[in-house]
């Protein structure tokens, strides 16, 4: 009798303790999980978010970047920038950059990727070759083109000129400089798209391709009606990425022309950089940075929205 009374109460006690310990176990696990997440998140916030907010504040000041003293100047920086013809050259060049990159590398990437689809043996070799310029440093690529190709004294351009061809040094020409710079950047970039597109095309269900073949579709029809719809999401996502990075273009322009001659190849990235590190007008540099980011952020929202399906996997 005593035994039977004792047993249920002990079970109840055990159960209660079990619930409590499971609760504390879960709470501890949650804390540990946040601790695991914290370093990556904190580092990103300290390096990206905090200075980003300061940029927004600084764009309304005459900050010189050297100390913490700055005067609030309202929207003067923005008025100055919007009254500066160079800003419109830079903006125009960024838009040209978007249009060039959305057409030429995308077309080359799609063409080569679709040709590589059925070449199982040589596929890897071609991808490695196409990626070579992509994995090299912008400094190296830019110096190679600057000194051995575009150089009128000793480069390929100089060689052709010596032999009577009337080509102008592309980087010194007001109308050509931006295209000459974009050409080098596209040369380094398009192979990346080949790899991306090929990776996406290979996800296409085999049955769809076989069905199209049975119905007698030719290679182009299969590409157009089977592969293209299947990689629509990738095409869109990469398109948005290209728009974002076209507004942020900096490396190749700065290395090849520094925005010259006579600002003809200026992009917003180099325009902002010159304000900060040539004339120490950090306030103005921040304002340009903010304007650039606006274009990038619009595209970035689109990107985040487009990739929401991947994120919720």
């Amino acid at each position: 009798m005593t035994l039977s009374l004792k047993t249920p109460s002990r079970n109840a006690l055990d159960a209660r303790q079990g619930v409590r310990s499971r609760k504390t176990f879960h709470r501890r696990r949650t804390i540990i999980n946040y601790l695991l997440l914290a370093p990556a998140l904190l580092l990103s916030i300290v390096v990206v978010v905090v200075p980003g907010i300061l940029t927004a504040v600084a764009s309304f000041t005459d900050w010189d970047g050297l100390g913490f003293s700055a005067n609030f100047v309202g929207t003067d920086n923005f008025t100055d920038i919007f009254n500066d013809p160079t800003f419109y050259t830079a903006l125009g060049n960024n838009i040209k950059w978007v249009l060039l990159f959305l057409t030429i590398p995308v077309a080359l990437g799609l063409l080569t990727a679709s040709l590589l689809l059925r070449r199982k043996k040589t596929r890897t070799l071609y991808q490695v070759i196409y990626l070579m310029p992509y994995v090299l440093a912008p400094v190296v690529n830019a110096m190679v083109w600057l000194s051995i190709i575009y150089n009128p004294h000793g480069g390929v351009v100089g060689y052709l000129r010596d032999r009577g061809m009337s080509i102008e040094p592309p980087l010194a020409n007001l109308d050509m400089s931006i295209y000459a710079v974009a050409g080098v950047d596209m040369w380094h970039y398009w192979g990346f798209l080949t790899v991306i597109y090929l990776g996406a095309m290979r996800q296409t269900p085999v049955e769809q391709v076989e069905a199209a073949m049975v119905e007698g579709a030719n290679a182009f029809q299969i590409f157009r009606h089977v592969y293209l719809p299947n990689i629509r999401a990738t095409l869109l996502l990469m398109g948005v990425m290209i728009v974002i990075f076209s507004f942020l273009a900096f490396d190749y322009v700065y290395l090849l022309t520094q925005g010259g001659p006579a600002h003809s190849s200026e992009v917003m990235g180099t325009y902002a950089y010159a304000f900060a590190f040539s004339s120490f007008q950090f306030g103005k540099a921040a304002a340009v940075g903010l304007i650039m980011s606006f274009f990038g952020l619009v595209a970035s929202f689109v990107y985040t929205w487009l990739s929401r399906r991947d994120l919720s996997k």
Partner: protein, 277 residues
């Protein structure tokens, strides 16, 4: 389609692929042939094949570009970035893959936004802050900045790899009374090792090749990375093209060697589609 036109298509396809391979490679081939020529021969005809082998170009480039120091600085920078990204992104990727915190969607959206934020949005105050703290010309500190910039990519990649870890494996380990750190070290790390290599090599290349942040933060001649050392040769040596090309070769060969050795990881990593241009 008859067989002859099919054959024609196959051949024209190969021709197109070869032409694009040449476009990718020819500028690099020009570097190779001119790196062993005398400067006068380069200027005379950059397209001709070398007649001799001028090794002096490489010796000159190595000393003028301060490549010994540059290699050391680039190694310290890259190692810092890679280690920080690998450790922090695998911890975060593990938590996010298992949806172990309720706010995981917000954090994913945050990293997606962070991946596309322009450097110019935070560069100027960050530079000023580094100057105040006396961290300019501090190579490991700049490596940490590059780690922060590469963090979203690392987190997404590592999360994808952790998604492949079966939940039962983890549960079984917990039943056996394994703690979190033992779990990560002995059970999760082996499974996600390919992910670590992929992130390591792509982030490593990014850090090794970086220009905007490094050129702004590392101005002292003793802290210049390899690429910045090479860049400083331009101007002084832009007339001595043989030496310039030898310098370019010294930078190109190790990167291409590592890329070819690890190409499987690079191609797979890039094909996952979450890399900056």
């Amino acid at each position: 389609m008859n067989t002859s036109s099919r054959k024609f298509n196959a051949i024209s396809g190969h021709v197109v692929l070869v032409i694009f391979a040449l476009i990718a490679i020819l500028p690099l081939a020009l570097v190779a042939i001119n790196s062993v020529k005398n400067s006068a021969d380069v200027t005379e005809d950059p397209l001709s094949l070398p007649t001799g082998f001028n090794f002096q170009n490489f010796i000159d480039a190595w000393s003028y570009g301060n490549f010994g120091l540059g290699f050391m600085n680039s190694l310290v920078l890259t190692a810092t970035t890679v280690v920080v990204v690998l450790v922090l992104s695998s911890l975060a990727g593990y938590v996010l893959a298992g949806k172990k915190v309720r706010s995981w969607p917000v954090i994913m959206v945050y990293f997606t936004m962070a991946m596309t934020v322009p450097i110019q949005l935070f560069l100027f105050p960050l530079y000023s802050g580094f100057a105040q703290l006396g961290l300019l010309d501090n190579v490991p500190a700049v490596g940490v900045v590059l780690a922060a910039i590469n963090m979203p990519f690392g987190v997404f990649m590592m999360r994808t790899f952790f998604l492949n870890v079966p939940a039962e494996l983890e549960e079984a380990a917990f039943v056996d009374g394994v703690n979190t750190f033992q779990l990560i070290r002995h059970i999760l790390f082996p499974v996600v090792r390919p992910g670590l290599i992929t992130v390591g090599v792509i982030v490593g290349l990014n850090a090794w090749n970086e220009f905007l942040i490094t050129s702004t933060f590392l101005q002292n001649s003793s802290t210049k990375t390899l690429t910045l050392g090479f860049l400083s040769m331009n101007g002084t040596f832009s007339t001595d093209l043989g030496v310039m090309m030898a310098g370019a070769m010294i930078l190109i060969v190790p990167v291409l060697a590592i890329f070819i050795a690890l190409q499987r990881y690079v191609v797979d990593g890039l094909a996952s589609g979450s890399v900056k241009g």
